[in-house]
């Protein structure tokens, strides 16, 4: 049962090697997809090439389904997975500013690494800019502190906000993803350069979309929240409600890990 690290399968030093492996694989995938090429990245904002959206949405859907299925099968304890907390106002403003930074600089943090190693000087300058931006944020932190924690909603999930079980939310996200793929491909047909865009047979795409929606549909029927709530958890005290089982990522830290605290842990 996962997550392995939180259950004490290996120590901090080994986790850094795992980080290197995960980083290697993701950097490899990013470069394969063309994310070291700044004009391919920014083409999404001029409706010419939606690779960024396709890769993002597909990876989110695959990982989301994986997490939910793993938890239904009892392979992973979502209560021990670090759930990013919601601070709604800084996230909205941060997102808007990051979007402006994206279209101005051409990269987001990870893609600038990939661009830099492919020899792009602008990628390196972007990285230097990010370091400066981080330090500027830290210097201004006394003024930003209040806003930084504004709109604290805790570790809350979309399913909690919509008051739906996570299986139904997963199905809705699958449907949204398929709808988005269909829509952006129509837009690409209109504005994109056909020779440069990757092809792919219509039949395979529709079969994959059907399979995706089917996977979401099964989850919606199975209701993962219900199954997880019913399962007697060995370490977390029983009789906890669903919402609480999902939250203790912070609390359940102490017994499981070997001295590693998640307090200063951030998503990115």
């Amino acid at each position: 049962m996962g997550p392995l690290y939180k259950l004490g399968w290996f120590d901090f030093a080994y986790s850094l090697q795992v980080a290197g492996l995960i980083g290697f694989l993701s950097g490899f995938v990013f470069e394969r997809a063309g994310f070291g090429n700044v004009r391919k990245l920014t083409a999404i904002f001029y409706l010419r090439d939606f690779s960024v959206l396709k890769v993002m949405f597909t990876s989110i859907v695959v990982c989301m389904l994986g997490l939910l299925y793993f938890s239904v099968f009892g392979w992973i304890d979502l209560g021990r997975v670090y759930l990013l907390p919601t601070y709604i106002w800084p996230q909205i403003v941060g997102g808007l500013v990051l979007g402006i930074g994206f279209v101005m600089g051409g990269y987001c943090p990870t893609t600038s690494i990939v661009a830099t190693v492919s020899g792009k000087l602008d990628g390196l300058i972007f990285i230097i800019g990010m370091m400066l931006g981080s330090v500027i944020f830290a210097e201004l932190f006394p003024f930003l502190e209040g806003f930084y924690s504004a709109g604290n909603m805790g570790a809350i999930r979309v399913s909690d906000v919509l008051k739906l079980n996570s299986g139904i939310v997963a199905l809705l996200i699958c449907l949204m993803a398929v709808g988005a793929y269909w829509f952006v491909e129509r837009v690409e047909d209109k504005f994109g350069d056909k020779a440069a865009l990757p092809g792919g047979s219509r039949r395979i795409k529709w079969s994959a979309a059907t399979f995706l929606i089917l996977l979401g549909l099964i989850l919606a029927i199975v209701n993962p929240d219900h199954i997880i709530a019913k399962r007697p958890s060995p370490r977390i005290q029983p009789q906890k409600k669903v919402e609480q089982v999902q939250k203790p990522a912070v609390k359940s830290e102490e017994p499981a890990s070997s001295g590693f605290k998640i307090v200063d842990d951030e998503g990115c």
């Binding site: 993701s26 890769v55 601070y87 994206f102 051409g106 830290a138």
Partner: protein, 169 residues
Amino acid sequence: MNHRYANPYVMGVLLGLVMLFSFYTMGRGVGSSASFARIATAGVNLVAPGHVANNKYLSKYTRGGKSPLMAWLVFLSLGAGLGGLFSAFIANRIEGEVARGPSIGVSARLWLALGGGILSGFAARLARGCTSGQALTGASELAFGSWIFMFSIFAGAYATAYFFRKEWL
């Protein structure tokens, strides 16, 4: 240069599996912007250690007397660099240049890259993560704020794309 890239859907599936592997082994997702904040902290720490210790935000990276570089995400970013390098190498895509659209000069492009980097670095700290660590990771675990964050990125970028069209088109 080789501009033939892999199918984005296939790459999306692979990236999703890598993220799932990260969740399964580590109980957390991928990310990268904090590693730049940490490297910057290490730099400031070298020049003015007292300044880092007195800064409320930067000091969290040196808590417990540890080096700010001994962190999971720093190693992840190093790995990402190696993985990207390997992929670019086998695809014959390594070429020293300043990537830009045909109607912008080198120095203007570099200034905009610097400006975009500063905005991104600042925004990623404010939002507690970037496109990978906040949007991808959070969205796949259904974190509410991460979905809002992701839509905000697209909103901010599409709203201002018009002003930067000369840089790319």
